[in-house]
């Protein structure tokens, strides 16, 4: 590995260039965006930043500007275009597993995405509530059986969305160790290009075999239905399956664990939710806004010169939309640095914005609402089992959260 392939020094406190990205959060403020990036919202909302390999890109930090860029198809999501900003050397290797629609533009993006939209539509996902609730209750039963403490990540927050996405895709949950480990490598900002390439190939090979097996033994999972549709090759189905599997794993898992921690750190908000469980739906939107686990910026590259926030972004220049600062933008969310479970947070952009906005968001919402409500109801004495200062946050991962969350009840 050459020096250039190493990832940025993620833990470096107070780096001299505050706008080297990914930027480090301030010590003691694990829920808040990195200070340099947060300052840019007021001082220079569309500003230059330096990436790990020394290349430059634009940071777009305000709510209105983030929505403008992500909603404007003159900003391409195609990672093959020159100027596309990668956060790490490994990030570029994501392309080695085949191109997914999140890194394509319309009309190809829309064609592929529309093969899946029916599976994640609100009505379909709402109908899964009883099943998700049953899984959540079983996990809590098992976690609390003869015990008074556990790691909330491994015993509840991760298995819940894993079980659900496996069920939806038709992937055997018994294999979860295999794809969770590879998923972790793909999402680690510290993984080398080689590690990412290997994990990609292994996952795609696994899913190709699975797709082939569905030809003989079809079920009603998404992989099987894509096979039956006959429009995609096994390799294309595997690539799409990998995207859904990885995206379905760590996002909701980390939102669940981090939300729990944020509520434990804000006991007044937790008490409010306990007293009034009907607030849970709104509280989940507020937690999505406040925590914004896609924390390093959503990448795009301009295909034409476009003016954003008074600056001209030239064709071929890369852009990172920092949606965590957009979700703290005081113009849209007054007092946005505080967690307020009664806030109307629906205009948050935690799922992104534009035609690439998260396909799985109705599912994520149902899972999070059930996870938060179940934890509050079943574990009235829930508390953190280690000092808050000892919690290991995921600054080194593409999806923010906690590596583990020891809790007791």
């Amino acid at each position: 590995m050459t020096t250039a392939e190493r990832t940025a020094p993620l833990d470096a406190p107070d780096a001299p260039d505050a706008l080297a990205v990914p930027a480090a959060r301030a010590p003691g403020c694990p829920f808040d965006p990195a200070p340099g990036v947060a300052r840019a919202v007021h001082e220079e909302p569309v500003t230059r930043a330096t990436l790990w390999d020394g290349s430059a890109c634009w940071l777009v930090t305000r709510h209105q500007d983030v929505r403008q860029v992500l909603g404007d198809q003159r900003f391409s999501a195609d990672a093959h275009l020159p100027g596309f900003p990668f956060l790490t050397a490994g990030g570029r290797e994501i392309l080695s597993g085949g191109t997914t629609f999140i890194r394509q533009d319309d009309p190809e993006h829309a064609r592929l995405r529309r093969m899946l939209t029916a599976d994640f539509m609100v009505k379909k996902v709402e109908a899964m509530r009883p099943e998700v609730q049953r899984l959540a209750d079983e996990l809590i039963d098992r976690m609390t059986d003869g015990r008074t403490s556990a790691d909330l990540v491994t015993d509840f927050a991760l298995p819940l969305p894993s079980l659900v996405i496996c069920l939806l895709l038709g992937v055997p949950y018994e294999d979860h160790g295999y794809f969770q480990e590879r998923s972790r490598i793909l999402l680690s900002l510290r993984s080398t290009a080689e590690e990412v390439r290997t994990a990609q190939l292994e996952l795609v090979a696994y899913l190709t075999r699975l797709a082939e097996s569905k030809r003989e033994r079809p079920d009603d999972g998404i992989v099987s239905r894509l096979v039956a549709r006959g429009e995609l090759s096994f390799a294309e189905i595997a690539t799409m399956g990998r995207l859904l599997l990885v995206a379905g794993h760590e996002t909701t898992a980390n939102m669940t664990a981090l939300s729990t921690l944020a509520l434990l750190r804000n006991p007044d908000q937790l008490a409010r939710l306990r007293a009034e469980p009907s607030l849970v739906k709104g509280a989940v939107e507020e937690l999505l806004r406040y925590l914004t686990i896609v924390h390093n910026g959503v990448p795009r590259v301009a295909t034409e010169d476009v003016e954003v926030g008074g600056r001209t972004i030239r064709a071929g220049e890369g852009v990172l939309c920092t949606i965590n600062t957009a979700n703290r933008d005081e113009d849209v969310f007054p007092g946005g640095e505080a967690l307020d479970v009664t806030r109307d947070a629906r205009r948050h952009v935690a799922f992104g914005f534009g035609v690439h906005q998260c396909l799985g968001q109705p599912l994520a919402r149902v899972e999070l609402q059930i996870a938060v409500e179940t934890l509050i109801r079943r574990l009235p004495g829930l508390r953190l089992d280690i000092p808050f200062e000892d919690v290991a946050f995921r600054s080194d991962m593409a999806i923010y959260g906690v590596h583990s969350l020891p809790v007791a009840w």
Binding site: R113, A118, M121, V122, K123, Q357, Q361
Partner: protein, 64 residues
């Protein structure tokens, strides 16, 4: 109020259904937006404006 939803632009994220379930739905086969009531009563106008504001694909427009 009159609502227009562009099914070509729609990306099936479902935000409108969550914001205004009495006014918007999704097609069974592909999750694309369907308008249930193109001229909704005044009591639903705020919810419809919210749906238009949060639509990620800017597929919903409203005229008065």
């Amino acid at each position: 109020m009159r609502i227009h939803a562009d099914q070509e632009k729609c990306c099936g994220a479902g935000s409108c259904v969550l914001a205004a379930p009495d006014v918007f739905d999704q097609r069974e086969e592909d999750g694309i937006v369907v308008v249930l009531d193109a001229e909704p009563p005044a009591a639903l106008h705020d919810a419809v404006r919210e749906a238009a504001a949060i639509c990620p694909a800017a597929a919903i427009s409203v005229s008065d």
